[in-house]
Symmetry: C2
Subunit: 375 residues, 2 copies
């Protein structure tokens, strides 16, 4: 039986808002270490709290996106306790109770489950829009429009809705979703069952996907009723569901130290792997808007405006005879001469000089530096 059926509390202060999205809540996942964005991100200040695109931090940009649809009171941020202080600093307007604290990072399944539990207790009709905090989504209107459609679809409670991005190129760095049977749902949005999930493909396979059509990038954006998600967990991740039920019985869920023990027992597993790939009621809604995962320094070459030499430069830097480089230094000026295909990032914790093709391996550096104790 779903946790939702057991917890009898009625959401308070959430029903006052009229309109189509009065039961909609955004859940922003602010987890992850962001090791691949060393030196700007560190153990203490992970990626969501770093300004990678412009002045605002990634989490601020994500909250801005959510505010197009719901008020701040309906925006929740899930994070680990160590990052609460920096998160509050980045988001001074967000109510304290909208930070959902995980004792440990256990990947996205426990994170999403915990948020579902909290929201279900708040509002039995809660619909959750789950957003990672490291996406590039420049088409605000397109994003807002589609999210509204997904909420309408999810509100009915039958489906777990996910977004599939129409691929703009044969990208090998993203997972794909193969669309299955087309489904007609009121209000007539374009919807598909999921045939299967595909891990990051090689280039030949990715090219075939793009040529063939019917394959979409897995954006990791999910929309569902909180009770539908909890029911999905009950069916496919019963251990996690049991743990969440225990947590649900704790009166003050968010601050209780007892939660630590329960959380410690959770398996570290993503919601994609743990639930989405197994559930039969997943619905994919294709998106035509531009989306990129901001996963490594080189992803900035795609999402920021490169100059005529193909460089992305931020800060008062001096760039001579330089091509295809990411150069970021907000304080000390960087001067480059005769180099190409490098990532150069200077922050107070360190200076990175790395071949662009090795951007994935920057996490190695972050780990070594973190162990060494200088950040």
């Amino acid at each position: 039986m779903a946790i939702g059926a057991k917890t009898g509390k009625t959401g308070k202060g959430t029903r006052k808002r009229a309109g189509a999205f009065r039961d909609t809540y955004f859940v922003i996942m602010a987890g992850g270490k962001g090791e691949r964005f060393w030196p700007l991100s560190t153990d203490r200040i992970p990626k969501p709290f770093v300004s990678l695109m412009g002045r605002k931090t990634l989490i601020e940009l994500t909250v801005d996106r959510a505010r197009k649809i719901v008020p701040l009171t309906h925006i929740f941020v899930v994070l680990v306790r160590e990052h609460l202080a920096i998160a509050k600093k980045c988001l001074p307007g967000l109510p304290r109770s909208n930070f959902i604290i995980q004792p440990f990072d256990r990947d996205t399944a426990p994170c999403v489950g915990l948020a579902a539990m909290v929201l279900h207790q708040l509002n039995h009709d809660a619909v959750m829009v789950v957003l990672p905090s490291d996406h590039y989504l420049p088409d605000e209107a397109g994003f807002t429009g589609l999210i509204k459609e997904t909420v309408k679809a999810a509100r009915r409670g039958e489906h777990l809705v996910t977004i599939g991005i129409t691929p703009g190129r044969p990208e090998t760095g993203y997972g794909y979703i193969k669309a299955g049977k087309k489904i007609s749902l009121p209000p007539e949005a374009d919807c598909y069952e999921v045939a299967r999930y595909v891990e990051k493909p090689n280039l030949a396979t990715a090219r075939r996907y793009v040529r063939q059509g019917g394959y979409y990038w897995n954006a990791g954006i999910f929309v569902w009723r909180a009770d539908a998600l909890l029911e999905g967990l009950r069916l496919h991740m019963p251990a996690l569901h049991d743990g969440l039920e225990k947590l649900g019985k704790v009166r003050s869920l968010r601050q209780k130290a007892g939660a630590d023990a329960v959380f410690a027992g959770f398996e570290k597993v993503s919601i994609d792997y743990g639930l989405m790939e197994k559930a039969k009621n997943v619905l994919m809604m294709p998106a035509a808007f531009v989306w990129e995962d901001v996963g490594t320094w080189t992803s900035l070459l795609r999402v920021l405006c490169a100059d005529e030499s193909g460089n992305v430069v931020r800060g008062k830097n001096l760039v001579l005879d330089t091509t295809g480089c990411v150069i970021i230094s907000d304080k000390t000026p960087v001067a480059t001469l005769g180099v190409s295909g490098l990532v150069i990032v200077a922050g107070k914790n360190g200076i990175l000089v790395c071949d662009a093709s090795k951007a994935q391996e920057v996490r190695q550096i972050a780990r070594i530096i973190s162990k060494r104790g200088d950040r």
Copy 2:
């Protein structure tokens, strides 16, 4: 007539020292902008005052070399006024009056001429050992031994003595001296007339020089009596000599503002070009010790100990999958990954990332940054 014949002052306090080198003085040229060592050297802190090899600045290392032969009171530093403060800070033990101040930098001929004037007024028998402040000379005993020989040869007053380094490789970055007729001088040192000076050769020519023998690197180290140098200037650089005579009549030469006008009139010319290539009484003494000009960041690859991957690393840096790089950062740690043949230097004024083959062009960067006003 040489200035020496007109100025009638007797050196005071310099005759007390007994021994073979009581009339010997070292003149360290601390000029130059060191633009090629940006970001560690800047307009305000040029190369001689920067620590490029170990903890000591280049000028400290040069003074240490001189002290093997003469006391501090016999060591003079020629510099421009703007650098007096930093020079005094680097060399707290050097008497204030041993800093010879040039109103402007006019290359080495006026610099050396001014020093000769000062020393000749101090001691009519003064022998000057002129040292640039950016040399790598690890063989202390070899250096000291040869300098003593040159002083003995120069003391007789007939010759302007220069040192030629036996080339260890066909270097295209140095000028060469072709040895002429062998001369026998007491105390039987190996001495040659100079057949000719050769500008930096191309690789084929440099290889021929090394194969053929009789060619030496021009180290820019000179030893002569002050009066012999002034006589040389009178013959070959009469305008400079006239100016120095005027300066010689000023009572307090080193502080007089009137010197500015005279100095402003001096042509910017090197002592090699202005005098050495023309004088008939030049004597070259070959040196077998290791010598390198520390002219660019990449010269550090030769003079500092490279690790097994061919990197020269200074500071608490993290070097992964990196070869043939110079990596210097004393404060903020630099992490490199998958790069080769780069010069990476971080200082408080800026961060340089430059292809090793472009090290000569770093001056461009220094000039632009200097104009821009951020140092």
